[in-house]
């Protein structure tokens, strides 16, 4: 049985104070006022306002920063022989104990997606691992669905615990916190919060209500096969990507995208030294696959979009057994031209079904 705690809205600050103990970085959703408001995760400090809204930007940066220094190096010269250079190198991962507070189940499931290639494959990424091991995820379950969300299509849901250490559910008078993992349990046990066992049924009730608010999900079981079947049908991809602008809004705001690029900056002998940086990249950009020769296997946006959709709904499931999409819908809401991945996936599924039907008839 997991640990259940309860906290009132007024008690959240104290809870955050607790989370921030021992040098832990607590990332909380913070509202950025603008004509177009946005919500981003930022390190919390006592007294800072925060919000519990779904963030515009997922908390992916907690494990995969927008830009991180993989290694830094310095070169020093020998005073007697200017041609001789001593190189010192630091490749220790930049990682601090971190709590992500009040992300949503789709964000948390993002971590589960990222864990697969970074931790479960033949090559473990030490930088990712260092951060992931020091990460605790406190997820706020969603009270209802929305027009762009489709977590339940991808195997998740408004209260899916996957990827979370603690699941937090809003009820009438506060929040019920339920530990999901031993890490979460340990943290919750030490938090000094009131016991929430009595209120747990109310939380379960709220979760059910949330599930009930969702429109029925289509069956995507055939999606990998259907999309693979569409792979060579460039007309299909061209049709669906005609309005794409090839920007990175879909991928940079995705909790499951992990494409990156590596660049070297600075100079061993400069005061700030040389740095090897890993930064987010996007498969929507033609640069992503441009080869040194100038050749580009994904020259046109249809090829790139095909890659994105195939990766998320065909090849990743083939390799890892799950979609590389948590259905958060940010790629839909943030797209400047309203491209909707759901439409493409459904169209592919339908196309696949039709062609299979045709084959059977033949």
């Amino acid at each position: 049985m997991s640990t259940i705690r309860f906290v009132t809205p007024d008690g959240l600050s104290a809870f955050l104070d607790f989370l921030a103990q021992n040098g832990r970085r607590v990332l909380v959703p913070v509202e950025k006022p603008a004509v177009k408001r946005s919500v981003v995760f930022e390190p919390w400090s006592a007294g800072r306002p925060f919000t519990l809204e779904k963030a515009t930007v997922p908390a992916k940066a907690a494990v995969l920063p927008q830009c991180e220094t993989l290694l830094s190096y310095k070169k020093t010269k020998n005073a007697d022989d200017p041609a001789a250079v001593t190189l010192t190198l630091d490749d220790a991962p930049e990682a601090v104990p971190t709590v992500v507070f009040a992300c949503r189940p789709c964000d948390a499931r993002g971590y589960a997606v990222l864990d697969r290639p970074f931790l479960q494959g033949p090559y473990v990424d030490p930088y990712y691992r260092a951060r992931r091991e020091l990460l605790t995820v406190i997820t706020l379950s969603c009270a209802r669905g929305c027009d762009t969300c489709f977590c339940h299509w991808t195997g998740g849901g408004p209260s899916s615990p996957e990827g979370s250490d603690i699941l937090m559910t809003e009820i009438d008078d506060g929040y019920v916190l339920q530990s999901i993992t031993p890490k979460g349990e340990e943290l919750l046990a030490a938090a000094g919060l009131a016991d929430g066992t009595e209120r747990f049924p109310a939380a379960e009730n709220a979760r059910k209500k949330a599930w009930a608010s969702l429109a029925p999900a289509p069956n995507l079981k055939m999606a990998p096969a259907s999309i693979a079947a569409c792979f060579t049908d460039m007309d299909f991809w061209q049709h669906w990507t005609e309005r794409c602008l090839s920007c990175g809004a879909c991928t940079f705001f995705c909790p499951t995208c992990y494409c990156f690029t590596i660049t070297d900056e600075g100079e061993g002998m400069s005061p700030s030294g040389g740095r090897r940086l890993r930064s987010w990249d996007t498969c929507m950009s033609p640069l992503f696959t441009r080869e040194a020769s100038g050749h580009n296997p994904r020259m046109v946006k249809a090829q790139r979009m095909r890659n994105r959709v195939s990766h998320k709904y065909a090849t990743f499931p083939e390799n890892w057994g799950a979609f590389s999409c948590s259905g958060c819908g940010r790629c839909i809401g943030n797209c400047p031209v309203g491209l909707d991945i759901r439409e493409i996936v459904l169209a592919a599924v339908q196309r696949g079904a039709e062609s299979m039907h045709e084959k059977q008839e033949q």
Binding site: K32, P33, A34, V35, K36, R37, S38, V40, K54, T56, V57, P65, Q66, C67, R144, G145, C146, D147, T148, S213, L214, A215, E242, R243, L245, S246, C247, G248, A249, T251, F252, F253, T261, T263, E265, L277, S279, W280, T282, S285, P286, L287, R290, R330, I332, G333, N334, P336, V337, G338, L339, D340
Partner: protein
């Protein structure tokens, strides 16, 4: 490398090889004593000085930047300094919007024989920089978030456009359909409260065409990708200016483009609409009256008055009807242009330099460098070869600092100088709502002031001002060095 503490500040000079570098030599030969702060970078011509070098220096630790070239008419290359004069003047007028004191940048003309003048210029400029003190740094500025005041009055009545001649437009498009590769317009998006671009190739596609306040995207952005093909585009007035600007720059050919237009009554600021709608599952209904759009979502009706919820650009819009059209439907609407300060720019105008620096620091922190702003810009034609992600030239790093992100915005703004029609797609596309349009608006304002009210995208035959020059500039005057 460090400056001498308490003694020197970091002043970078870009000098043309033929005149000013020679002038500095002449000053040296005459043993004309000068302050030691200035570090001179020799360039072939003042026309070689990309304003971005100056921004780069000012962002990265320079306390002052001085550019000096041949006197007008004396350019070793005939006209390099004429181009430089326009570009550097625009830059000078742009700097304050970033929170940089424009006195930190100066450009002047010194000939190879004017050693004394050079001494005077260096002495004065160095003194000026010392009087200003070390330049404040973006990264040291306390982040500041402020919101533009959107309570605005439009130059013309805004409406919902429900009486537009949509059927006639569709008929006109159908008639042209056989001649054209496709016609770009708008269709309903994921629900009735959103539209997305539509590429019409068949009569059935034409049926999907919609017209109204949800048509926010600028379809001109797609035109350069159809270069060489016959294509049609349906435009609002603002979109037509992008089409014209593309024509001005020969980025599309007039004979390849057929422009369809209806007079626009304004479009909605979807950020504020979405904000008001909140999380909803379904749109039940969208209804219109002359001035309002009523959206019913999950059973709750939300009313949006066009006068209150239009895009910022719509309020100052003087071109509701296309400035250029082959098929013009509906009755064109004439609006007397007026110099309205757009809301984003008004917000910055009201700030001190220090606040502006803080503002941009605060705003740029949340930028993810997704480049939706760039890719949504119809005038961004470098596309696959933007200098923001190239190594040669290596203008930018991939670092996620506010400085690098603002530097990109500066690149974009300066590359748009004299070209930006103010369509606002950059800002609309930004998923995190950074008011980056203000930077382009400041450039546009400077360009209009310097070049007799020039506005890009009004006349296909106009030469964009930074691609031309006048031997005697009416509005650019050498600043005195007294």
């Amino acid at each position: 490398m460090s400056v001498l503490d308490g003694k020197e500040l970091r002043i970078v000079g870009f000098l043309c090889n033929w005149c000013s570098y020679g002038g500095a030599d002449t000053a040296g030969v005459a043993r004309a004593t000068q302050p030691t702060d200035l570090r001179i970078i020799r360039v072939p011509c003042s026309g070689r000085v990309d304003p971005l070098f100056i921004i780069k220096a000012l962002f990265n630790g320079a306390d002052g930047v001085l550019v000096s070239g041949c006197h007008p008419r004396d350019c070793h290359y005939s006209s390099g300094n004429f181009y430089a004069r326009r570009r550097l003047e625009v830059l000078k007028q742009f700097l304050p919007v970033l929170g940089i004191d424009d006195r930190r940048f100066a450009y002047t003309w010194v000939s190879a024989s004017e050693g004394q003048r050079w001494q005077h210029v260096v002495t004065q400029f160095t003194k000026q920089i010392h009087d200003l003190g070390p330049a404040p740094r973006l990264e040291d500025a306390e982040p500041l978030l402020k919101v533009a005041d959107m309570a605005l009055t439009a130059l013309r009545p805004l409406g919902t456009g429900q009486h537009a001649a949509l059927d006639a437009l569709k008929a006109a498009i159908r008639a042209k359909l056989p001649e054209l590769e496709c016609i770009i317009g708008w269709q309903q998006g994921r629900d009735a409260a959103h539209t997305v671009p539509l590429f019409m190739r068949t009569p059935e596609d034409v049926d999907k065409l919609v017209w109204g306040p949800f048509n926010v995207c600028n379809p001109a952005v797609y035109l350069p990708s159809f270069k060489g093909k016959k294509v049609g585009v349906v435009v609002k007035g603002c979109d037509s200016r992008s089409v014209v600007e593309l024509l001005q720059e020969n980025l599309i050919a007039r004979e390849d483009v057929t422009v369809f237009s209806l007079p626009c009554e304004g479009t909605l600021d979807m950020a504020r609409v979405d904000q008001e709608l909140g999380r909803y599952t379904t749109i039940d209904n969208v209804a219109y009256d002359a001035a309002h759009v009523i959206i019913t979502a999950d059973g709750v009706a939300h009313s949006f008055c066009m006068a209150d919820c239009a895009q910022g650009k719509c309020y100052g819009c003087a071109t509701p009807s296309a400035v250029l059209a082959d098929e013009r439907l509906g009755t064109p609407v004439e609006v007397t242009p007026s110099d309205v300060t757009p809301p984003e720019l008004a917000l910055l105008d009201a700030m001190t330099l220090k606040e502006r620096l803080s503002f941009w620091h605060g705003q740029m922190q949340r930028c993810l460098r997704c480049y939706a702003c760039r890719n949504a810009c119809p005038m961004c034609v470098c596309r696959d070869y933007c200098i923001s992600d190239s190594r040669d030239p290596h203008w930018m790093t991939q670092e996620a600092s506010a400085k690098e992100k603002l530097f990109f915005q500066t690149i974009h703004a300066l590359h748009l100088a004299g070209r930006c029609t103010g369509c606002g797609e950059c800002q609309r596309a930004c998923p995190v709502g950074i008011p980056i349009l203000a930077l382009r608006q400041q450039i546009a304002r400077a360009v209009a002031q310097l070049f007799d009210g020039y506005k890009p995208g009004l006349h296909p035959e106009d030469v964009p001002p930074l691609l031309g020059y006048e031997v005697v500039e009416q509005n650019i005057h050498e600043r005195d060095w007294k």
